[in-house]
Point group: D2
């Protein structure tokens, strides 16, 4: 695939922790070029270096430090809009951009649950882009919104999709141990989490239960039918910087053996078109067979943080199988995931590059 | 209850982390008096201060520092033997003491799973002491072994027993987030657990599944019939010093409402005889209704570390109810639990104090 | 000492982390009784349970949960006012209370550096209360302000005062490793401090350098002459919950041997009148001789958190001696320290209890 | 520089944590090729994958997993021997290899303090290789030993050498906050370091004081004259995974201004020959001017972990300047440092590649 000139893109909410990840990743992207950074009134008008207090690893891209942060008006000379906005702000801003013709790739939850807005992880459900024309027709928008899932759901569904395709999942119990970076910056107070576990993350269990059904759903005539899986989620915050760990018990229509499950996961590749996207990992799912893996610190960075690592696949005394997965929540589970979605849209010709 | 003179007791494995807790707690016990500390050959013959590198909070009892550590022979002038031995050592040593007529209160796993050895948490199943005569008869021992459960199982069963009594538990999925102190000292390497989760603790899931059924089992004619509960456990280590956190999904024969479950847990007291034991907490089960409790750092020390705190009681989309419990693993879940067992035996007249 | 009726006291800034410590400690104080809790407009009018999100260990005192939080006006029916206000608020509010006749015991920095405001640690410089009449005369106040030092300075000066008395300190290099609780709540973001050190705490080094000279200063005719010590401080934040650790290199006019220094520290008791204060520790300074002590987690709670633990006393290749001290920053170093000051004032008859 | 064929190298102590770093880094080295891995009798004879429990980030090099681990006899077909042995083992083994003609690049402390063994950081004192002929003559060895310093000393001396060259350092007080990985694996028990600081590391203060003088010393006629600097070190362990942080107070013969110090550090490059070594960073010293940097988590990975970051350069009330440095202790401070030394030896023609 050859793309002659880079596609101009912008980041909304560029000053926050997820916004910083977008900026860092897009600064060296082979297809996309940042032409604008936008944020709330408090930051607009300042140069980016001044407006953003850098909290993620590495340094800010040196050539973007002087870029003046714009406000959130839909008059940006870009083709793709990456949204790292808080959901309450995204609710008003993202439709304004879609209405103005932009392709909005959102990391926010505001529109994730709309029946005509696709929720996409390219390796799992690239065909959900078929919902875009329906969305445009429903809402009379020349542009559109595509969303990426909650970081935790990403780790769950990437581990389950290959198994669902073959054995059909019916029931699922998940318990999460989520990293502090999932709460943004400043996010979790150190006095709350050092030497501690917080067994509650507002809204998280509902997101996991709903989004998993959407991501594993099927598309017919541009409409999504959610997967019929009964899901019980327990969400917890633990003192880990990056990387969400999830334990799962799963019941299938057709119970696989442990060996079959490992084999299906190891063989999963996704569509060829996906494998050629610049941000796509060579192996989206890694299976480890050591007794004590995956672990967030040791597995989160696999494949540039784009692979989900699965392990401890074993019999479940109550349902069928138990397993553990780890996902890098701020890479695969946030900025990189949305960028991969934009790459998918580009490869499918859904971005108006004229 | 008045006990004229203190009962002489000894601690086996006194130099390890759990052994140190025993020593610390027994040093100021109203009923018991330490007359001997015993340990492996490496420590025997040294004075206790020299043999034990103190790793738990607080200081070693000053008046025991000069006590010479004995070896593990059953010739100690004590009535009750507290065993903090590693399980492989306990397997040989504990029977030798029972055979020699001692009452052995063990924190080790070696004899927990024998059909004629009681596994006891006094507030839950004090009546399991009825297994002692059977054990003595089976094995032709003048003494006996009573065991206390794995620390994690303690947190699970204390939260579940009141509900099981009323609503009958059928199915259970638990995920644990366990403190590092559960692995003893030196135990977990800091390079393994800082900024990390280890989703595996050797043998722990099997212990949880088996011991829960034993603790919730019934006694008939001196024999225990295990509870028929299907249990799936996921055990994890997290960077917390003390306090095991457990998430649970539970299915009952008679589904309670959330309010009924809270009410049953709040009203649970255990038998009056138990409430008068010196180590027994006023309230063995505390229910918190804040959205984000219990938490290990903030709830582990409730009631001197002897109460289990339960919270987040809510509907489960798959089974009936979800909840979270926290237990102090090295107090209620280890040394204090075994001491409470010894108090129970004393109160029931099962210790030969002549 | 017999005090017939409890002295009515109030806490300003009662809803913050230090305010909560004041409330917790005063709720069971033998001499003082909380009659009012006051805070900023945001909290005033609400009941205390609602206004304060409890962040410190333990639970809020049950009988104070319903007390309505007052605003910060000096019309409170109390004799002693404990101030846990932020310094910028304290600057206006504390003088208003002193002007209205109250004895203000402040934990804030606002008036610590005034030449007529005593900065007191009772065991070290109880005689600095002689500055109070001067302050009242200078400012024409019927009441007065007495301050307690920065938490870190407390750990430094308690370790040094006995040595200064005998050997006269001339030079001091200190490096601090400070707990997160020193920054209040929410305070330090977990993303900033997990697996990290922050080698900077705003204003801390200047506070340490200045306050140490004040605390070790002498009083003549109601005026304080600061100690002439050259001090270089390096302040750092580390991932520890409670307990500030300080390394020190010290040069004296009369160089003591290591043994002499240990002996002087071990023998230090403070005045008899201080030892009878209810919050005073039996031993304000503990010396440990193990190679690796003091440590914040293992030593912070010594003597109910009121003792400073000193260790690793050894030769310094550049100055005279090196040593390490640990202080519990939110107990001795904050709320308990100010309460001890109020006890001193009471014992000295400086509180108008009529 | 063109090197036609890779130089065969071996790693002694290949199974430990530092040994694993050597293996990981050398597996993709442009000049060197691992031809042997050696370890103690316990590991010898096993394949490397089996003998080494991988504890560092990333995975073991796949093509080395099957290499059979050799014992520590000096009969290995390599030209350069990297030693990651414990010092007590190194004391016997390293001379055996030097005597057999090998160039030994050691990370162990065993021979660091010998007057004829060079201690080298290429950017600082590449000219100390002039000690090698002296060593060979003294000991009648065809090979030789070159050592790299203690990880903490590396962070100190890289920050100080440029200043020493221009302003001549006379006095130094350092306090370290060292990462747990500096203690190897399993190393520091998590029960010792979570929520804690250990203000003691055995032998570390002496190493810092001695090695700093050696590294900053001068060579005349193949002999090293140590720098005459009076140094006082305070060594502490903190809960950080990688990256040692050091605070320093420094006195110079010619006191620089803060600006001069910054300028000298920023301009420091080392010799051109060093800059061309494959492992050498573009900028060995980075100066940051933010108030709160450097921080270990945010700065340790700068320049692939090979740069030392310096910050908070400011006046010292007692000596002349204060500052903070951060070094990646297991990269620059251990394996990478020794590899860089081997590259220096190669570039200088001191490796017999025939």
């Amino acid at each position: 695939m050859i793309i002659s000139d880079k596609i101009p893109v912008a980041v909304l909410g560029a000053t926050g922790a997820v916004g910083q990840r977008f900026v860092q990743l897009l600064a060296q992207h082979p297809w996309f070029e940042i032409v604008a950074l936008a944020a709330s009134k408090r930051s607009a008008g300042k140069c980016y270096a001044e407006a953003s207090q850098w909290v993620i690893p590495g340094d800010p891209p040196p050539d973007l430090g002087d870029m003046v942060v714009r406000n959130l008006d839909p008059d940006i000379p870009a083709k793709i809009i990456f949204s790292a906005l808080p959901s309450d702000v995204a609710r008003d801003i993202e439709p304004a951009f879609a209405k103005a013709g932009y392709a909005v790739c959102s990391n926010a939850a505001a529109y994730r649950y709309e029946p005509d807005v696709p929720l996409i992880i390219p390796e799992l459900n690239a065909e959900h882009t078929a919902m875009i024309p329906t969305q445009q027709q429903n809402r009379n928008w020349p542009g559109f919104i595509v969303t990426s899932p909650n970081c935790t759901t990403t780790g769950i569904t990437m581990a389950l999709k290959p198994l669902h395709d073959v054995f059909n999942i019916q029931q699922l119990v998940v318990t999460t141990m989520q990293a502090i970076s999932g709460a943004g910056y400043p996010g979790v107070a150190s006095l709350d989490i050092l030497d501690n576990v917080i067994p509650y993350i507002k809204g998280e269990e509902e997101k996991i239960e709903q989004e998993t059904r959407q991501l594993l759903g099927r598309i017919t005539n541009g409409k999504r039918e959610d997967a019929k899986i009964v899901i019980s989620a327990h969400a917890n915050r633990v003192p880990v910087i990056d990387g969400h760990t999830v334990t799962m018990s799963v019941k299938f229509t057709h119970k696989p053996s442990v060996e079959e499950a490992i084999s299906v996961l190891r063989d999963y590749k996704g569509l060829p078109v996906i494998q050629e996207l610049p941000t796509a990992p060579t192996h989206p799912i890694l299976v480890r067979t050591e007794a004590d893996r995956p672990q967030p610190r040791r597995d989160r960075d696999a494949q540039e943080g784009m692979a989900v690592t699965v392990g401890r696949i074993r019999e479940c005394p109550l349902l069928d199988l138990r397993m553990v997965s780890v996902v890098h929540n701020t890479l695969r589970g946030a900025a990189s995931g949305a960028i991969l979605n934009a790459e998918l849209l580009t490869a499918k010709g859904l971005i108006n590059t004229s």
